[in-house]
């Protein structure tokens, strides 16, 4: 029986971490505006609170505790020095509406980060405010829409996404009021050009692509795709989730993308925090730059300042209460400074080396890469379809059993078009020993699947709980403790 913090609560018990002077005069608030009963927050001691949440922490897998080869998520080491840099008083205590005259430190960091990301991506301008990849995508879709509207091109209501695309791509299209049109992916994982020619047309606002793609291969015919879409009057959006694979080696701007986002919580090593926060800066070429959201940071002879709507009239506007996730931006900036140009190129080199090595070890052991004739990028997909057919043990079972071996599972069942898929992304910060241990665990589990399939199907066995019933979680919805 798990105890929640509410089970530990006792009326009138208190922590003393924060107490203010008591005994104020009568509340100057009208009676009818007041709350009649206090909220049901826990009443525990400070030690009880610290112990409860420390013990909860210990039930998590994390990068700091386990190999976490989650494809498409780039779970690399999150440097502690970088965390410390962003957690300094001067940064933490700055109110977002402090006038620029007293904000030159943070503005300098943000300005330099804008420039750095422009260089890394080959774009003309970058706006830092989008708060995650998905908000970056929405930004890009709205910019594309605004561009067409500006050109009195009102029929362009469709945005093309590959069938293998991440779910945020089609969801973004809908949010932007556009219709997602799917394009097929061929047997080698590339976009099918014939299919593309069929869906592209006068209604095409643009295409959203990830490169390397969500199939974990480099989209080799990117030039042809760009020509087809651009010739039809559409624009190209780059989903930067997989930039780790090509950092410093190929720039989306040079691939003719018009607008893009980066996931700083992936490529730039900011922590994922059990779900977030992230940051999804958006870059654009000269054509689309005027539509970037506000605020952006500028540098003048009087120092750094904000660019708002008054000087950027074509901007799609504001997307956050203040300036997005500044704390994450500072971390990405500090990380980039430590890497420098060579460090960035080494990121892509060793991320790619690790992925190719692990793919080779697994295929040597009899597993089936989804695209055996292709290079792995910073990640690769394997299909466990044959194993599932032979033993009844599915990718999900494999994933749960890996937990018992002390590894976080790879991304499962994504992309969907690869049956029984594992998308495996080791990242550059893992040692060869760790990769070997993971491959050995996969081999051991395959043996178990052949000799004792129930052991794998009932996994995990050594976690705080056994396999949880997700169907019951939906049928008998229990989402609060009271």
């Amino acid at each position: 029986m798990v105890e929640t913090i509410f089970d530990k609560s006792r009326p009138t018990r208190r922590a003393v971490a924060q107490r203010v002077k008591e005994g104020f005069a009568q509340q100057p608030l009208p009676e009818h505006q007041l709350r009649s009963a206090p909220p049901m927050l826990p009443e525990v001691s400070e030690l009880q609170a610290v112990r409860h949440f420390t013990n909860l922490a210990r039930k998590n897998f994390s990068i700091d505790t386990h190999f976490y080869p989650l494809g498409s998520c780039t779970m690399k080491y999150n440097p502690r020095g970088v965390h410390r840099a962003a957690m300094q008083e001067g940064f933490l205590n700055r109110h977002p509406l402090t006038p620029t005259s007293h904000s030159q430190g943070v503005l300098a960091c943000l300005f330099e980060l804008q420039e750095l990301l422009q260089n890394v991506t080959g774009t003309a301008q970058v706006c830092l405010t989008p708060m995650a990849g998905a908000q970056g995508e929405l930004t890009g879709a709205l910019m594309i829409k605004a561009y067409h509207t500006d050109n009195n091109d009102h029929e362009r209501t469709e945005i093309i996404v590959p069938t293998a695309a991440h779910g945020t791509n089609p969801a973004t299209a809908s949010m932007a009021g556009l219709i997602a049109k799917e394009v097929e992916v061929d047997a080698d994982g590339d976009v099918d050009l014939e299919s593309l020619k069929r869906v592209v047309g006068p209604k095409t606002a643009g295409i959203m692509l990830t490169n390397p793609s969500t199939c974990a291969v480099f989209e080799r015919r990117i030039q042809a795709i760009s020509d087809i879409v651009h010739d039809a009057g559409g624009l190209l959006y780059y989903d930067g989730a997989n930039l780790n694979a090509i950092l410093g080696r190929a720039r989306p701007g040079d691939m003719q993308f018009d607008v893009l986002h980066l996931n700083l919580h992936k490529t730039f090593a900011t922590p994922h925090g059990g779900g977030g926060p992230g940051a999804g800066p958006v870059g654009a070429n000269e054509l689309l730059a005027p539509y970037l959201p506000t605020p952006m940071v500028t540098k003048t002879e009087n120092g750094y300042g904000w660019l708002d709507r008054s000087v950027r009239p074509k901007s799609i506007g504001r997307l956050s209460s203040f300036m997005g996730n500044v704390g994450i931006l500072l971390r990405a900036y500090a990380y980039s400074m430590m890497l420098g140009a060579n460090g960035m190129r080494n990121v892509s080199a060793y991320a790619t080396l690790n992925a190719n090595y692990l793919m080779k070890r697994l295929s040597n052991a009899g597993f089936h890469p989804a695209y055996p004739d292709r290079r792995a990028t910073h990640e690769f997909a394997i299909s466990l379809r044959q194993e599932a057919k032979a033993t009844g043990v599915t990718a999900m079972d494999f994933a749960k059993r890996l937990l018992d071996y002390g590894f976080h599972a790879p991304t499962t069942y994504f992309p969907l078009l690869i049956p029984e898929c594992f998308l495996i992304e080791p990242t550059e910060t893992e040692t060869k020993e760790e990769l070997d241990a993971f491959a050995d665990a996969m081999i051991a589990i395959l043996k178990e699947a052949q000799t004792d399939p129930d052991l794998v199907k009932q996994a995990p066995h050594q976690q705080p709980v056994g396999r949880l019933d997700e169907v019951q979680a939906v049928r008998q919805l229990d989402v609060t403790a009271h």
Partner: protein, 445 residues
């Protein structure tokens, strides 16, 4: 090579396994024309020590003064344990808890967070966060339109006293789905209930306390909106709910959707982000709620455990038909807020909120002793108040800044004669001496 563990021997043996001569060979599928061999405009890497030295210098440049600024971001004290624990690697460096059995810590914490937020707002259910307060309101409006399918109209009414950045963000996001935003007029800083034409409204937004710190007539607004079958979206400061009537109790039947920014709950101001947005609603609308939700369930032996539930609302399952495109949220800030609320408890939160109200009233009483300073609106306010300084505040603001005081938020362009007014706030961390200093600086001028 920062953070890359490979020895020369490792690399050679891996290349040998792969049967290639160099790492460059692994990039041979990238067409040469789009390859780049260097990043000439990016400097060389530096050590952690040098980086920290540089960042310390930058952080010191922003020596901020004594803060009387609020306007959506508040200077509260954060107990030491909050970030000590939230910064543990197991919370900090975990991903979204998709593998439930390996993520029970995060999942149980989110479940506890949902419980606290639901209780604070007097709603049935909360999600696991969206990006921030402004984007939470955009999501709330999109959700209200989906929920209120009966209504053929797409007219959403928003108060003129809404936080201006929230309004701007909502405009950028929701108008693309054919939603028409219409501003309700204000009178004396408050939504002019009797002047509003509610006919055909799908939803009515109520910010309480509003951007100007004033208490709206939430009961009347809620009832009038419900009379015409419009949904009520409450935008609230969670700290205020320790004292104020929760949105679930507004009017006869309560608000339908509640959102806001969680920054007051243990999140440093940090230039306004990362913070987190929250969304709460009634159980009947839960399937239209965007974002992740943790739920309690069982394993095969009947042990309780936690999973992400109702995932069929989300982009990774429902794709183009999802309730939102949100994926990465603001999990770590939710972790901090949950620890914060636990450390404070109902009594502690009540005391902090009371102290904020008390301090701001003290500040206002003190400053309005001066003949040229007055309250702009003669209505009850929470912990922010609009003061009229009787002259343009520009020079005043600069002088105070130079003397180490952030005197408030100038309202130029936001209200009538806004260039003479500032929104001021004194949270529980402001002392009697701080308030004295503000007063002295004003009289010196």
């Amino acid at each position: 090579m920062p953070f890359i563990p490979h020895t020369h021997a490792d690399k050679e043996s891996m290349l040998e396994t792969l049967g290639i001569a160099s790492i460059a060979d692994l990039f041979d599928e990238i067409p040469d024309r789009i390859k780049c061999d260097s990043l000439p405009d990016i400097p060389d890497g530096i050590s952690e020590m040098a980086m920290l030295h540089h960042m310390a210098h930058r952080a010191q440049e922003d020596a901020s003064g004594v803060c009387f600024l609020g306007a959506g971001c508040y200077d509260h004290y954060i107990p030491a344990a909050v970030w000590d624990i939230a910064s543990r690697g197991e919370f900090l460096t975990a991903y979204t808890p998709y593998q439930a059995e390996a993520s029970q810590g995060t999942l149980q914490l989110v479940y506890e967070f949902q419980t606290m937020l639901a209780s604070l707002t007097a709603m049935d259910v909360a999600n696991a966060s969206v990006y921030d307060g402004a984007s939470a309101l955009a999501e709330a409006i999109l959700m209200a339109v989906r929920v209120n399918r009966k209504s053929k109209s797409r007219r959403v009414l928003v108060p003129a006293s809404l936080h201006p950045s929230y309004l701007a963000t909502v405009r950028s996001i929701v108008t693309h789905q054919g939603i028409e935003l219409e501003l309700m007029t204000s009178h004396e800083g408050l939504t002019a209930v009797s002047d509003v034409d509610l006919e055909n409204a799908v939803a009515v937004v109520v910010q309480h306390p509003n951007f100007l710190g004033l208490l709206e007539d939430v009961d009347v607004l809620t009832n009038r909106a419900h009379d015409v079958d419009a949904l009520v979206i409450g935008v609230v400061n969670p700290m205020s709910l320790a004292l104020l009537k929760p949105p679930g109790d507004w009017g006869d039947t309560g608000a339908d959707i509640v959102c806001g920014d969680g920054q007051p709950l243990g999140i440093p101001m940090a230039s306004g982000g990362p913070s987190f947005g929250f969304l709460c609603t009634r159980m009947i609308h839960v399937r239209q709620l965007p974002g992740r939700i943790a739920g309690r369930t069982q394993d095969k032996d009947g042990n309780h455990g936690f999973v992400l539930t109702l995932q069929a609302r989300e982009q990774h399952i429902r794709r183009a038909k999802a309730t939102s495109n949100i994926c990465t949220n603001q999990g770590l800030l939710v972790t901090a807020a949950t620890i914060y609320m636990t450390l404070l408890g109902p009594q502690g939160l009540h005391e902090i909120a009371s102290s904020c109200v008390h301090n701001t009233h003290r500040l206002v009483d003190r400053l309005t002793e001066l003949p040229n300073v007055s309250m702009r609106f003669a209505t009850p306010y929470f912990h922010e108040c609009v003061l009229d300084f009787g002259e343009s505040t520009e020079a005043l603001q600069q002088r105070m800044l130079d003397n180490g005081i952030l005197p408030g938020y100038p309202l130029t362009g936001l209200i009538d004669k806004g260039d003479q007014a500032m929104l001021v706030c004194a949270t529980e961390v402001r002392t009697e001496q701080d308030i004295d200093r503000y007063y002295q600086e004003l009289t010196n001028g």
